[in-house]
Amino acid sequence: MSATTATLPAMGRLPLRLVLWGAVLVLALIPLLNQLPESSALHVGDFIVTVTGKWITYAILALAIDLAWGYTGILSLGHGAFFALGGYAMGMHLMRLIGPRGAYGHPVLPDFMVFLGYPSLPWYWLGFDMFPYAFFMALFIPGLLALIVGYLAFRSRITGVYLSILTQALTYALMLAFFRNDMGFGGNNGFTDFKELLGMALNTPLARAVLFYASLVALVGSYWVCQRISVSKLGRVLVAIRDAESRVRFLGYSTTQVKLFVFVLSAVLAGLAGALYVPQVGIINPGEFSPGNSIEAVIWVAVGGRGTLIGAVVGAFSVNALKTWLTTAAPDLWLFALGGLFVAVTLFLPKGLVGLFRKAEK
């Protein structure tokens, strides 16, 4: 329905590959520069490390959205929900690790449960004290939800804006649900006051660096997976589905299965991003489910250039850099800028920043 020319990523070109690895290297230097003495000209503050680490997880989320929207034409306005679910799973692990150090000093129950008078841990909290299990759940729960929703939606051929509205309603419903105290997820306040992860105290340079590198590795890994998919035969089917789903179906492909696979993979990546995000920012609350967050993530992809993997990453970094700068420099203007980005990108830059560079190259 949209652009008819399939924009396959030009991964084979050497300069782009070089630029990519260069960018990864520069990012990898950040925690090291943080270790330099503060007098050094190259010293990088703690804030930069945390913020960049956060942006890296956003970039993973943007990749996930790009895979579904840019390649397959599934515009999900509920990816924030998968991100938040991954975050909540990791948050549950971090809450369990607080142990008796909480304000109420209960050996097992997190503070909010003591406060709300829980006699014991709800069954769905069991096992979250083990990192492998919690990490698995951070990927599994978003994937499972995507499987159910995707199966129901794709089976009855809900496409286009209907799917967008449906996924938006999904994240809205989840937000309302997570705001409830009796869900057992901390209600309004969510989870915060984390102490440690994998034996590291969280507010130390070591923990920051480890989380940063973990996020970077996850980003490179996700990029690699998406890139392999995009150049494979499957990747071509995805683009074909985006541009003419009926024709692909008539050619004998089961578009439902293909879309379901992409949607679930995308949700798992979003969950991974959320799981890495929470220990770095130190808080997760139901606000993460708000539909505005999901649609903001979509605009990162649109700004960077959908249908190109590098575009998603560039978009996530550039929009969030703009946000971080503008919300401190001129808070009133940020929403105008964001709204303006939505309008400008859809009207004037359908291929995003990457498209702009490509044009300049020629």
Partner: protein, 524 residues
């Protein structure tokens, strides 16, 4: 026949009028000295005065209640008013001197309430009579039976009669005689009232031998209360449904008819609410002030429609045929509108006052309905009628339908399709603005007023069937009632979640909504 009854009533009244004072004079004079005694004596005297139908008893007891009844050393009672001090017995003017106020305790207060009630029941002011009847219900003592019966015999106002009967039944329950109590129980069983139920249960504890009859009466009351509650829930559902209807009608035009997905629709609603606020402020202090709300309706329509027309001509038309881009772009426009309003009017809520005729509650056969909710239901249906009429009977509606069905042929017939697009979008936005007028009455007028309704409105349109106004009506009312019916069981938030999930499952069965378009139009 009528004349006969009238004559009889007149005779009765005259008899009561001439006979009562002679007897009552004695009761009043006899009871008066008790007020100068201890608390027990005062309470007894108050009760006696309450059953005397003496005209002097009411001001006396009111004076006692308000601490204006004074007592001299020698026991003479004085009533103090703004006009001066008089002797209670003779009515002659007197000097207060060193007289002290007569003090009351809780027992006296209780007696006073009942006595004042039974005296005021005979008042000529209907409002006072109603209030008195309610007071007697609360104080309930067997002594009130006789005055209540007398009052009931001459009462003609239906609402007061109902209250009097309730109070009489309640007083009968306090009687020591079981036969009289039973009379009271049977009378209460016919009343649909929480208080009556509570009263019966209280009596059951005191008089166990009547438990069986009381249980039967309570069951009767509860049955009727349940029916009333169901009706009330249904009404609340309709009210919520009409709010959804108002918010979704504009979408049914822009999304349903034009296929343009406008995420800034909620902001159009918000603009309508702010237009209401501006009209109210502009007319504040002028003679038009009471008409501010009706005048706000066209103002809101025009403001939202103008913004809509600009949006369509300036931005949306370049994205026709690209629904996902339209969605993102209009979302951005919504953010800009929200932030602009926030900067102009501030982030805090703005106060929009309801006109007097929209305040208070309407009582309809024992049901009490909030007036503004009733008005919103009426308004929602009016707007729906307006939209249907505009689409069906106007030249603009005809052109709109023509463009939707076949744009090219419509163009060859001389219809300026671009103009029709702009007008249609402006029309849909204007309806959203009118919804804003209604929402300003029940919700906070704040920059993010619209965001709360946008998802629900889309759900209504999708659920009802895209492109069908009948579907929008049925969809909105169904979702409203479903939400309210589930609320007591699941809580407001969970009800919403359940409804959302329910719609997702419903779309499985009928992907095109309840009222699906059939034939060629469905492919558009």
């Amino acid at each position: 026949m009528k004349r006969l009854i009238f004559g009889f009533a007149l005779a009765l009244l005259l008899a009561a009028g001439s006979a009562a004072p002679a007897r009552a004079q004695d009761a009043f004079t006899a009871a008066l000295p008790g007020l100068a005694g201890g608390f027990g004596q005062i309470a007894e005297a108050v009760e006696k005065l309450g059953t005397s139908a003496d005209p002097r008893a009411l001001p006396l007891l009111q004076a006692l209640q308000e601490g204006r009844l004074l007592k001299r050393e020698d026991g003479t009672l004085l009533i103090q008013t703004d006009a001066g001090t008089t002797e209670a017995l003779t009515g002659r003017a007197a000097e207060p001197g060193d007289a002290e106020a007569v003090r009351v305790n809780n027992r006296v207060r209780g007696a006073l309430r009942g006595a004042l009630g039974s005296l005021q029941i005979l008042s000529t002011n209907p409002e006072e009579r109603l209030k008195a009847a309610e007071d007697v219900f609360r104080s309930r003592s067997a002594q009130n039976i006789a005055p209540l019966e007398a009052a009931l015999a001459r009462e003609t106002v239906p609402a007061i009669r109902t209250q009097l009967e309730l109070s009489l039944a309640a007083s009968r329950l306090a009687s020591p005689d079981n036969a009289v109590r039973l009379q009271g129980i049977n009378a209460l069983a016919e009343v649909t009232d929480q208080n009556a139920r509570a009263l019966l249960l209280e009596t059951k504890a005191q008089v166990p031998e009547l438990a069986r009859q009381i249980d039967a009466a309570v069951a009767k009351i509860e049955g009727r209360l349940k029916v009333r509650q169901m009706v009330e829930t249904f009404f609340q559902g309709l009210s919520l449904g009409s709010v959804l209807l108002l918010a979704a009608l504009g979408l049914a035009v822009t999304f349903g008819v034009m296929g343009v997905i406008n995420m800034a629709h909620g902001e159009m609603v918000m603009l309508g609410a702010y237009a209401t606020y501006m009209v109210q402020e502009a007319l504040h202090g002028t003679f038009l002030e009471p008409a501010a709300l009706p005048l706000a309706i066209p103002a809101a329509f025009l403001l939202a429609a103008a913004v809509g027309a600009v949006l369509e001509r300036g931005l949306i038309r370049y994205l026709y045929g690209r629904p996902l881009e339209t969605l993102l772009m209009t979302f951005g426009v919504g953010m800009i509108l929200q932030q602009a309003v926030r900067l102009i009017f501030g982030a805090q809520n703005r106060e929009v006052t309801s006109p007097a005729w929209m305040q208070g509650t309407l009582t309809l056969g024992g049901l009490s309905l909030t007036a503004n909710r009733v008005w919103i239901i009426v308004f929602g249906l009016l707007v729906l009628g307006l939209v249907v009429a505009a689409i069906r009977y106007t030249r603009f509606g005809l052109e709109m339908r023509a463009v939707v069905q076949n744009r090219r042929i419509a163009a060859t017939m001389g219809i300026r399709t671009g103009r029709v697009d702009a007008l249609t979008f402006a029309f849909g936005s204007g309806i959203a603005g009118m919804a804003g007028v209604a929402l300003s009455q029940i919700d906070n007028v704040s920059p993010n007023l619209g965001t709360g309704y946008i998802i629900d409105s889309f759900m209504v349109v999708v659920f009802g069937g895209v492109g069908s106004l009948a579907g929008t009506l049925v969809g909105a009312l169904t979702l409203g009632v479903l939400n309210k019916v589930m609320e007591p069981y699941a809580g407001a938030v969970l009800a919403k979640v359940v409804v959302l999930v329910g719609i997702m499952l419903f779309i499985q069965r009928r992907p095109r909504g309840m009222f699906a378009l059939k034939g060629r139009a469905a492919e558009a």
